[in-house]
């Protein structure tokens, strides 16, 4: 089992899954803004993101799977864990404390998807954990098969450790 770490995450990648921990380059980077990440000024403007997926992750894709989700079959799963700035933990949107997993099949709704594709369904949760703010976005290949797929998604989520 492969293990990845970076940007305050550690992931034990389940067999048959792909994963990447990366940061998006900033569009605008104010120079004199105080960093909430300590001495690492750049980190404020480079949100770390974790992707876990049963499909092949194309090198160019959106932070929430744009450009990749069309390749999903009914049995595939895509997970994006997107970190916001630390100051966002004060926002009511991130009031839920702690990782929101394990998820339930009832948490999934096709209307949650940013782009509706076939029978796909999704779940989005905002939360804070250890002073960091996150959005969790999970896409299942089939709403009809969500009871079958959610346990596998939970296993993958359990393999993510947030420092």
């Amino acid at each position: 089992m492969a293990e990845l770490s970076g940007h305050g995450f550690a992931v034990r990648v389940p067999a048959g899954w792909e994963a990447e921990i990366y940061r998006r380059a900033p569009v605008v980077a104010p120079r004199n803004e105080a960093s909430l990440y300590g001495a690492d000024d750049d980190a404020l403007h480079y949100p770390p993101i974790v992707h876990l997926s049963t499909i092949a992750l194309p090198p160019e894709r959106g932070d929430f799977g744009g450009g990749a989700l069309g390749a999903m079959t009914g049995r595939d799963i895509f997970i994006s864990l997107f970190e916001y700035e630390r100051r966002d933990t004060a926002n009511a949107l991130f009031a839920y404390d702690g990782p929101p997993w394990p998820l339930s099949p009832d948490d999934f709704d096709p209307s949650t998807l940013r782009v509706a594709l076939g029978d796909q369904t999704g779940c989005q949760r905002f939360f804070r954990h250890r002073g960091r703010a996150f959005a969790l976005y999970v896409v299942l290949g089939s709403h009809s098969l969500r009871r079958l797929l959610v346990p596998a998604a939970n296993d993958a989520l359990a393999a993510i450790q947030i420092d």
């Binding site: 492969a2 293990e3 990845l4 770490s5 970076g6 992931v11 990648v13 067999a15 048959g16 899954w17 792909e18 994963a19 990447e20 921990i21 990366y22 940061r23 049963t54 092949a56 992750l57 194309p58 090198p59 160019e60």
Partner: protein, 254 residues
């Protein structure tokens, strides 16, 4: 007279020394030829050495490894992208066909492959379709990430991982390993150009398919039996060759 004998002895000694020197040189030449696979006293013709293979490929092309047993294990590729992201790429599993392209930034022969994939050239394989291309360079301790970023295509995954080179026992670059997620490694080798790579892969696949054609395929067996006059119910199908203890079949006429 004595002087003559002494002189002859000296000349004879010099000739003996010369002959010994020539024999030693000859033996050294034969030994070197033997190491290169051209030995005239080769007795074990079944064994192929790395030197044999190295002498049969073009300059800049890595010789394939010498292995007597086909390698089938599949190892996922874990490393970093040229931009520094930690990444794990799944190679094993159903419905996965991956071409691992082990390339370097400094190798001249690799340039054709970097260019081909930057131009988004496809590599369809007969009967298998388009494999996923994963370019694997050595890790950041051996390759400069900026150089890899400059060469890496936008549409193919590029991973820097020295571990993958070790896992797949890559002898040199460029080197290619075609992996079926279920069956394991189904072909590997080097090539001097992108066009040659297509040929190498197609040959590897046809070699792999060939033994399958020799299997007992039911429809082919039926056709051959029918041509021989043996149809369902033919008595020869119920004759047991081992005597009285054989089960007694229900004999029916053809």
């Amino acid at each position: 007279m004595t002087v003559l004998v002494v002189l002859e002895s000296i000349v004879l000694a010099l000739l003996v020394a010369l002959v010994i020197g020539l024999l030693r040189t000859h033996a050294e030449v034969l030994r070197r030829l033997h190491e290169l696979g051209a030995g005239i006293y080769e007795t074990d013709t079944s064994r192929t050495t790395q030197a044999d293979l190295a002498g049969r490929v073009a300059d800049g092309v890595a010789a394939p490894r010498v292995e007597t047993v086909a390698r089938t294990e599949v190892v996922d590729i874990t490393g970093v992208t040229p931009r520094g992201s930690a990444v794990s790429i799944a190679v094993g599993g159903d419905d996965r066909l991956t071409l691992l392209a082990f390339l370097s930034t400094g190798c001249t022969t690799c340039g054709d492959f970097w260019q081909a994939w930057r131009n988004d050239e496809s590599l369809p394989l007969t009967g298998l379709g388009q494999p996923r291309i994963v370019i694997v360079t050595r890790g950041p301790e051996n390759e400069h990430p900026h150089a890899v970023t400059t060469l890496a295509p936008a549409t193919a995954s590029t991973v820097m991982s020295s571990e993958a080179w070790t896992d797949y026992r890559v002898p040199a670059s460029p080197y290619f390993v075609l992996v079926d997620g279920r069956a394991g490694v189904i072909g590997e080798g080097s090539a001097a150009s992108f066009a040659q790579l297509r040929g190498v892969l197609e040959r590897a696949l046809s070699d792999r398919r060939a033994p399958i054609d020799l299997r007992d395929e039911p429809s082919r067996v039926d056709a051959e039996l029918r041509r021989a006059g043996i149809v369902p119910g033919h008595h020869s199908l119920y004759e047991w060759p081992h005597g009285p203890e054989s089960p007694a079949p229900d004999r029916r006429s053809a």
